[in-house]
Amino acid sequence: MNMLLLSWKYLVSKPLNTALNILLLALGLSIFTVLLLVQDQFENKMTKDAQGIDLVVGAKGSPLQLILSSIYHIDFPTGNIPLEEAERVSKNRLIENVIPLGLGDNFEGFRIVGTNHDYLELYQANFREGAAWRFPFEVVLGYEVAQKLQLKTGDTFVGSHGIGSSSHKHEEHPYKVTGILEKKGTIIDHLIMTSMESVWYTHDEEHDHTKLEKQVASSGFPEAEGERDITSLLVQYRNPMAAVQLPRFINSRSSLQAASPAFEITRLFELLGVGISFAQGLALVIIIIAGLSIFIALFNSLKERRYDLAIMRTIGASKGKVFLHIILEGIILTFLGAILGMAIGHLFLYLLVVNNEQGSLAGFTANFFLMEELWIVVYAVVVGIVAALIPAWQAYNTNISEQLTK
């Protein structure tokens, strides 16, 4: 027999009450857990995916949309820009390097990105097998893509038009897998990467087989005969001056739009912040109610238990032990609530991720523990102690002889 066991026995003697209190607290805490996990991974992912990209240049429209589509591959692209114009802008002396992107196709919901080898370098991609593309219609798969679609090097597939799955297929031009990347935990895990030329040729009406046998450009812009479009440019600045001058220059002097990832992400977090605050507020209310519910449960049970407490005192329990007995009940309840809450939170996130593999939650994981989650346990236990404080104090002050003669 010990104090913990004693308190536990009293809790399980009222299973419904105990379960309800644990569940209520767990619900509140699970919201916190999900928020914590999502927020952490979201910010992490957002920052990681945008690393090395100072500016995105694309068609006019919403700057946030441009960032979301070109860096995070979530939203739809804003439209296309003429290659010629993109090349002209890139010659600006404030620019260190540009990576062109051609978006708009997918395979089984995974986006096909036409680009050059600099893109792989930007994300420090390493090859698990095979190598980068050298000819049109050769592709490199991100780790998750290869896993989900069960593709190996040498396999071929046909892309479809559009960025969601199942629109019309480009059957004349099958893609051939030449390489598969290692898992990086960034957006490229979920992308199918190929040359700019592949994207262009997919949409061409005529079939010119000679150009298909020409090697593609591995950096810079590909050669193009006639007018070609690209979707956007990922820009790296040459110096800090560029951050001040370049966006303004591009936005005012050309038909193009420049958007800064850092700025747009901050704006996005501000927008999401309202939702997060709301969810946190809701969770807080539930936790306060759970705390009150625990308080009421302990307070009510104390009425029936005064005699039990007096008996404990007569067989040798000190006032402190009786106090501890009640406090421990609060602690056990909230500790279990916290553990259950975290479990529910992780499970909930797991379900979200499983059902949303290609969407905005792609690359998230529920199988992951944050140190901040330990604080959830600490906060919960504090709630338990506070809720038990008044009942415990009453237990402490129980007058034994008066109680026993009642």
């Binding site: 005699y307 007569t314 067989i315 000190s318 026993l404 003669t405």
Partner: protein, 211 residues
């Protein structure tokens, strides 16, 4: 073993009680009789270390118990005084065994086979794992006695232990208390107004005047 000196207490506004000094040796028995409202439960509480008297002292084994402080006093009570109430008041969430073990735990004694021995003596071994709610009144009272005896107390105090029992059970409980206190060489004090108890114990004092 148990000695009182100039005990005085106020039961209610109606008056002050003075208790004749008691001096009991190991194995002694004492019946405290009196009408209800005569303060006999109060004196029991005083002897049990549950209620400080207005004046006077209680000595158990030479220790003036009301000079002990807080947890010390609680532990002393748990170790040396066994109290049996009119109702068993077992802790319902616990099993029979756990009720008795709790008494060991509170005085800082580890687990041992004492529980088995004790239950054997009271002929309650079969009920060791039983839930308290499944016991009959008589059985529950025996377990309550087992709990009071768990730490081999030097003083056994019983407050109307037979009041809610039928003749058969009352007889059994009295006998149990007597044999066990003899065995433990403990002082047995029973507060009662139950006629069935009176025949068993010769040594008695009356509270609130003679009946």
């Amino acid at each position: 073993m148990l000695r009182t000196k100039h005990l005085k207490f106020q039961y209610d506004a109606s008056g002050e009680f003075t208790v004749d000094d008691l001096s009991l040796s190991p194995g002694d028995e004492l019946l405290i009789l009196g009408k209800s409202g005569s303060g006999k439960t109060t004196i029991l509480n005083i002897l049990a270390g549950l209620l400080p008297p207005d004046r006077g002292e209680v000595f158990i084994d030479g220790v003036s118990i009301y000079k002990l402080k807080g947890a010390e006093m609680d532990k002393f009570r748990g170790k040396n005084i066994g109290i049996v109430f009119q109702k068993p008041h077992l802790l319902k969430p616990l099993s029979v065994e756990e009720n008795i073990r709790l008494a060991h735990y509170f005085v800082g004694e580890g687990d041992s086979n004492k529980v088995d021995v004790l239950l054997e003596e009271l002929d309650m071994s079969a009920k060791k794992m039983a839930k308290v709610a499944t016991l009959s009144e008589g059985e529950a009272q025996r377990i309550a006695i087992a709990r009071a005896l768990a730490n081999r107390p030097k003083i056994i105090l019983a407050d109307e232990p037979t009041a809610s029992l039928d003749d058969e059970n009352a007889q059994a409980v009295i006998e149990l208390l007597k044999t066990q206190s003899k065995k433990l060489k403990a002082v047995l004090i029973i507060v009662t107004h139950d006629q069935r108890v009176k025949e068993h114990i010769a040594n008695r004092i009356y509270m609130g005047g003679m009946i």
